[in-house]
């Protein structure tokens, strides 16, 4: 196992990481320790430095400034010489030239590239026109927008109800907000549950105080409309008739990998970027880690996603090792099924981030 080391005659190795989440930052840390002379650059469309998105629900319990969510101070990046280019968008990767193209028409050259862009909220096509009436929950800014829009003891209508949404839901219930869950096939995503388990845990949610509407029985959601005077700000309309009002409507239909910019790069993509257990793509200079990649499973003979903070962090570490000449393989560190905690409330290993 050899790391790249620059000598006076060899220019420092250029590592570029697209994505500023758990995988990307874990990889940056690993790259810096394994190659002290290398140039490490993180590119992100976020304005903020890396912060713990698992803490976002806590914003509703107490006021937390984004500075309190940051995993590292600004000094950390300076001290470790990790350059973070923020608030920019990657439009393409030119694998032939080994360049990442940014939306402002600047190329960033790499020797080794890690794609760790994660996923973004999935929104069913029929709700695309209602996007402006929905509140997402992927960033600090979005979380604060929900907080601002939600009155004291207000009502949140959750569409879908993946585990990201349910994490928020339990917090909202604890501060006496009303949560209305409109179920969907993605409820409990990324857990894959049997009908029996699904029924069991929907009852758990009801016991916790959540209003559960069977989305399938209602024919699914067809539209979101502004609420009328005297009623909450949003109206959710069902295909079979009927509706439900909420101050905020939030889609939680799981994540889709953010890979559009990789189209045309020559990298194999199915739904996510396809990698081996060493996280290397079909291009020797490109790796992928986190929610954006599908990792080959020898057991299942298929590429599959692995979610959860601990899995993603482990991928970042493996990627850093292999980008610097190592030969490590990702092994799942976090798996599990839905469970109940000591209070009988729903719990999941995906909510663990320590």
């Amino acid at each position: 196992m050899t790391a790249h080391h620059a000598s006076p005659s060899v220019p420092p190795h250029r590592y570029v990481i697209i994505g500023n989440g758990v995988a990307g930052n874990q990889a940056a840390e690993g790259l810096r320790s394994r190659d002290p002379e290398g140039l490490v650059t993180i590119i992100t469309n976020n304005r903020l430095l890396f912060y713990n998105r698992y803490l976002l629900p806590l914003l509703f319990r107490s006021h937390k400034d984004w500075r309190e969510l940051q995993s590292h101070s600004a000094d950390y990046y300076q001290k470790h010489r990790i350059r973070v280019i923020r608030d920019v968008r990657v439009t393409a990767v030119d694998a032939g030239r080994r360049q990442v193209m940014l939306a402002h028409k600047e190329p960033i050259t790499y020797d080794t590239l890690l794609v760790a862009t994660g996923g973004r909220s999935y929104l069913p096509e029929e709700l695309a026109d209602s996007r402006h009436l929905l509140n997402s929950f992927g960033t600090y800014e979005q979380a604060m927008a929900v907080k601002k829009a939600l009155p004291d003891r207000g009502t949140v209508v959750m569409l879908g109800g993946d585990m990201i949404g349910l994490d928020l839901a339990r917090t909202l219930l604890s501060i006496d907000c009303r949560v209305v869950l409109v179920t969907h096939e993605t409820t409990f995503w990324p857990h894959q549950v049997t009908p029996e388990v699904r029924m069991e845990f929907l009852n758990v949610l009801r016991d916790m105080g959540m209003d559960v509407i069977d989305g399938d029985a209602a024919g699914g959601v067809t539209a979101i409309e502004p609420g009328t005077a005297g009623l909450p700000a949003r109206r959710v309309v069902f295909r079979q008739g009927g509706d439900v009002y909420g101050d905020v409507v939030m889609p939680f239909y799981g994540l889709v990998p953010s890979v559009e910019f990789m189209m045309g790069s020559g990298t194999d993509i199915e739904r996510g970027i396809l990698v081996g257990t060493n996280l290397r793509t079909n291009d020797n200079h490109i790796f992928a880690a986190g929610d954006v990649c599908q990792i080959w499973s020898e057991q299942e003979h298929a590429y599959r996603f692995y979610y959860g903070y601990q899995n993603v962090r482990a991928m970042g570490a493996v990627a850093a090792s292999n980008m610097t000449g190592g030969n490590e393989h990702f092994a799942i560190t976090q798996n599990g099924s839905l469970r109940r905690d000591g209070h009988g409330h729903i719990d999941s290993s995906f909510w663990a981030y320590d």
């Binding site: 984004w66 600004a74 000094d75 923020r86 608030d87 939306a103 050259t109 927008a145």
Partner: protein
Amino acid sequence: MKATDIQIALCGSAGDGTIAAGDILRNAVARAGYRVISFDVYPPEIRGFGKCISRVRITTEQSYALKRQSDVFVSLDDSHAIPHVGEVRPDGAVIFESQPVATVAEGHHISGHIHPGHIPYGIPLRELSEKSTGGGRSRNLVVLGYIAGLLGLAAEHFLSIIEKKFTKQGSEVVSRNQAGFHAGFQAGAATFKLDNVFFTPLGAPHGSEQVVMLSGNAAVAQGCMDAHLDTFFGYPITPATSIMERLAVALPKRGARLLQTEDEISAMAASIGAGFAGARAATATSGPGLALMSEMIGLATMAEVPCVVFVSQRGGPSTGMPTKTEQSDLNAALYGSPGDSQHIVIAPTNVEGCYRCAGKAFEMAERYQTPVIVLLDLYLSNRYETVTLAVSGPPFNLNANKPRPRLEAGEVYKRYALTDDGISPRAIPGDAGCMHVITGLEHNELGRPSDQEEMHAAMSRKRHDKLLGALQHPDFTVSKRFGDPGRVKVGLLSWGSTFGECLEAMFMAQAEGIPCAAMKVVMLAPFPVQPVADFMADCDVVLVPECNYEGQFAHLVQGILAKPVVRLSRVPGSPMPVEAILGEVRRLARGAVTAIAS
């Protein structure tokens, strides 16, 4: 509620509208009632692609200097802005173009240079400009709108200032620029604000005063007008030119006159001629022009003719750095003229001081019958501040001449009569019975040439002693002490534009618990010996910050008072950073007085 204190820096290339945007910003926030101090940096070339920076500090209460680090930094041209991107405070905002029209070479976009501790705001300025105005030229208005929307400033004042600025170019241009501002405003208002910078509402202004936005040179011109200037003679030179430009517009409206002469020698000579004829006269120049005027200033001293010279200093010597600020013409102003050429030299410390010193300079010139040099510098001439003017009218005495006694029949008028206070009754050509001559030669009381030893000594003493009265000139602050009373560890002794930075440094030092005081010296000749001596006696150590290499003011103080001072002499071509002064104050407060002081 926390008071507003926000500094915004706009950086671009000549042609980007950077300075214009800064001008609209400072006028809009001033109209909203905020206090403003602002300074523009631009290239020496008249046309081209040089760097322009407009810095605007907006406060609830009066501030005295620009901050070293801005709260918001805008790049309209990354090649110029990248070297300055570090001039933003922690968690401050950097706003940049996210959709440039052309391909950017690797490493040449500002996004890759933003400090991790700053917050980037990539905005499609050109795209917003094109969509809202049909062209990309209104990026500067778009970014102004973005800032206003982001920070919660009302749009109305911006829109009215934009209308005023572009109204001569037609309603279409006004509408287009307002549309650009609107597009930016909506984008800014829709942007989540990550920083805790905000504008606090303002109370109602005092009815007894009016607050106006002026540059130093504009304040000088206003002071001249309010002092009823009759004639102005000048030759253009950076950074003094805008005094003449403003007066060229204002004077004829009042039936007064302005003449652009062929050079500075003529301008000075014409001012003396006008003064001799009884007109209130002035000229304005910079260091190289002052050098040309020095012989004529000697003539005015010898002939005791009132005249006022505004000198805006720039980097020197010679042509030097025309668009960079410096305080290195002090020696030339004090001693530049041959012989014992005593005259008055005053130096305002802020824009309001420019107004007062301009008006008072005419009072002094007429009262003491001498040239008065008002020493500005580029930083003061070009910086903008909100200035409070009394509604009751200009605070100037428009007839400061010593009354001429009635002559008895057969009595001879002595233009240079030796009096107790050294000031002779002044008559002007045409006054009945007061015919006299003036000359550059030494003369007797009648004005006739005389080289007798006793007369030369008496006249030299007269020309010297009469100026001492200026140290008690009515309603004029010759020097002033600020900060802690009594004994202090560190005293800041300063003059001219650097005093604002000294005052800010003093406040910061006091906040750190350092016993500290500051004194501004406005009258540099004659020198206010006693107040400065008293101040220095109260200080464990005296620090003299000034923007020249030699420490010219420190030399002056040490030469007159024979007491040690610590020098902080710098020639950065830009204002002395507050932090540089504060750092020295801290060092001195720790007792680190070195051999410099001895």
